[in-house]
């Protein structure tokens, strides 16, 4: 890497030209980037658009060939049915279970990740064991866990499912947060320690602000894993705490395919996440840009 003096000398003529060129390039690039961004967004959003459109269509429009791209009228009958029949409670169940398990996983996981990152607690063995928990395909453990839960009386209960999701998300949280924490120069914490802070204070005042973007990115995906899980919810619930993915599969009948209900329920089930992302993206992006302006 060239020294500072070389940079300073270049700031004369060549640097000026470079900057002007960069600005012109910059404007054209910006336009091109916008076009690309819009194209990509359209492609990625199209299936979601289609799903939402189905939820607004009438049965004739849904089962129409060639397919209808935009319904004649935006009608909310399909949603009304879900509310009337009380199926909406499954969205609430998902929300409740996913939120609590995410909070638990984030808190416990980040603490654990800090310990692993800074102290290498348990050495490689512990880290590897934790990571290995995430490798296990849910199928492999779902039946024994079901038996365990029957014995404990936890089948079809909120706490049962919450604990299960927390346990399944912990490895991911620990992994990701360990990476983000390790990225932070340890000197900042050490100087805070020397200043007399306890470890807890160090975590709260030094570490947390610095990993905020990573924290939120991890929290978002942890929430999504819990929210969208299908296989655990399928086996561990019966009728009390049915979550929305399982409810959606109820609409795939052998003698009926409630596409309208499937779409409407999926839309309802996705809406809370969209809202959460809309709120969190402020932190996400701010976190990202703050992180970029590091000293």
């Amino acid at each position: 890497m060239s020294g500072a003096s070389a940079t300073g000398a270049a700031r004369g003529g060549a640097g000026e030209d470079a900057r002007r060129r960069r600005r012109r390039r910059g404007r054209r690039r910006l336009a091109a980037r916008y076009v690309a961004a819009i194209l990509i967004t359209v492609v990625f959003l199209f299936p979601i658009y289609w799903l939402f459109m189905i939820s607004f269509k009438t049965p004739e429009e849904i089962f129409h060939s060639p397919p209808v791209w935009y319904p004649a009228r935006i009608q909310f009958d399909n949603y009304a049915v879900l509310f009337r029949d009380g199926d909406v409670v499954t969205v609430w169940n998902s929300l409740f279970v996913a939120t609590i398990s995410t909070v638990l996983a984030m808190v416990l996981g980040t603490l654990c990740a800090y310990s692993l990152a800074r102290f290498k607690t348990g050495g490689d063995n512990l880290a590897v064991w934790i990571i290995s928990q995430r490798m296990i395909p849910p199928i492999a453990i779902v039946f024994p866990v079901f038996l365990l839960y029957v014995w404990l009386g936890w089948v079809d209960t909120y706490h049962g499912l919450i604990l299960l999701y927390t346990a399944f998300n912990l490895p991911y949280v620990i992994w990701m947060m360990r990476g983000y924490i390790e990225d932070i120069p340890v000197e900042l914490e050490e100087s805070a320690l020397v200043d007399g802070c306890t470890r807890w204070q160090v975590m709260a005042r030094v570490v947390f602000p610095m990993v905020r973007s990573g924290l939120f990115a991890t929290a978002v995906f942890t929430f999504v894993f819990a929210w969208n899980d299908f296989i655990f919810a399928l086996i561990m619930t019966r009728s009390e705490i049915t979550t929305y993915p399982v409810q959606v599969t109820h609409y795939f009948g052998a003698q009926s395919n409630f596409w309208a209900k499937i779409a409407a329920m999926s839309a309802l089930g996705t809406l809370p996440i969209f809202i959460a992302v809309a709120f969190l993206q402020r932190y996400l992006v701010r976190g990202i840009s703050l992180g970029a302006v590091k000293g």
Binding site: S132, P144, W259, I288
Partner: protein, 305 residues
């Protein structure tokens, strides 16, 4: 916070700090480890025990059957095929997701007005329940009611009958399309966060020095984001290995058993055929294989760092 400490005070504080640190570091991992043991260990032990027995749909034969299940396992062609299918999907989807995610992250890296809107919109596919995503693509691919064949027909000039979830040569593209659509945004977000954390000073200095964008990328940016990228690849790779929902919604493992992933096969064996012991043996095989793979991958990652 108090003012500067005297040397002896600092020394004492240091020793106390050490002791407090020890308590801290174990205290802090305790709840997480406890939960993991609870949910993680019991099923493992249970599965191991059961895999040496002979429990299936009709019989609850809990006598010790030795390695019978494991012997069957090695002769089971369908099992190894399902592993092959899973690896195939992983090997194709993972690089594509990485590449497209990286390109997207680079596209959005520099500041542009309205970026937050784009980012939050692009992340949406990952938010949909995979089973719902599979169902949505099932409809998109539908021959009569789906827009994809309709659009293909516009390009071809005549109605196209493309049976995406039926024909042997189309099922894999269909699954890959749905899967890549859903999870590329995951890579995108992770890489965007990682790229944003790359020290601007380094890149700017190199730029002024006249290094090409390409070299800057390879020599400075890539090594900087490699740790996070490696973890993201590992996570996504493991997720792909466990693939179930999307394939189930699109083809249920068909036609025949052509798109059966290891999770689908295990599900069928365990929950349709009730071959409890055999399934436990499969579960063990899978865990062992994955452990080896992950340990190998982690060691390599540690070395590069």
């Amino acid at each position: 916070m108090s003012g500067p400490l005297s040397a002896s005070e600092a020394g004492m504080g240091f020793r106390i700090g050490l002791f407090a640190d020890r308590r801290f570091k174990y205290l802090v991992i305790a709840p997480a480890v406890f939960i993991l043991l609870f949910i993680g260990l019991f099923p493992l032990i249970y599965s191991l025990v059961v895999s040496f027995q002979n429990i299936n749909m009709m019989e609850e034969d809990t006598s010790f059957s030795g390695l019978m299940q494991y012997r069957l396992l090695f002769q089971d062609l369908r099992l190894w095929q399902s592993l092959g299918h899973t690896l195939l999907i992983t090997a194709i989807a993972l690089p594509i997701e990485l590449l497209i995610g990286l390109l997207m992250a680079l596209l959005f890296l520099e500041h542009m007005p309205g970026r937050p809107v784009f980012v939050s919109l692009l992340v949406l596919p990952t938010m949909i329940a995979p089973i719902v995503a599979g169902a949505t693509w099932r409809l998109l691919f539908d021959n009569r009611y789906g827009p994809i064949n309709q659009v293909l027909g516009w390009f071809a000039g005549e109605p196209m009958t493309v049976l995406w979830v039926i024909k042997a040569n189309l099922v894999y593209p269909a699954i890959l399309l749905a899967e890549i659509w859903q999870w590329t945004p995951f890579m995108f977000l992770i890489l965007l966060a990682a790229l944003s954390n790359v020290d601007k000073n380094l890149t700017e200095a190199a730029e002024i020095d006249g290094a090409s964008d390409w070299r800057i990328f390879w020599r400075i940016v890539m090594p900087a984001i490699w740790p996070v990228m490696a973890i993201a690849l590992l996570i996504r790779g493991l997720d792909l290995f466990r693939l179930f929902d999307v394939v189930w919604a699109l083809t249920k493992g068909g036609p025949g058993t052509m798109t059966e992933t290891i999770s689908i096969y295990t599900y069928i064996q365990g929950f349709r055929q009730f071959e409890t012991s055999y399934t436990a043996a499969i579960a063990f095989l899978v865990i062992v294989m994955l452990s080896v793979a992950v340990i190998f991958a982690l060691r390599r990652m540690e070395i590069t760092r």
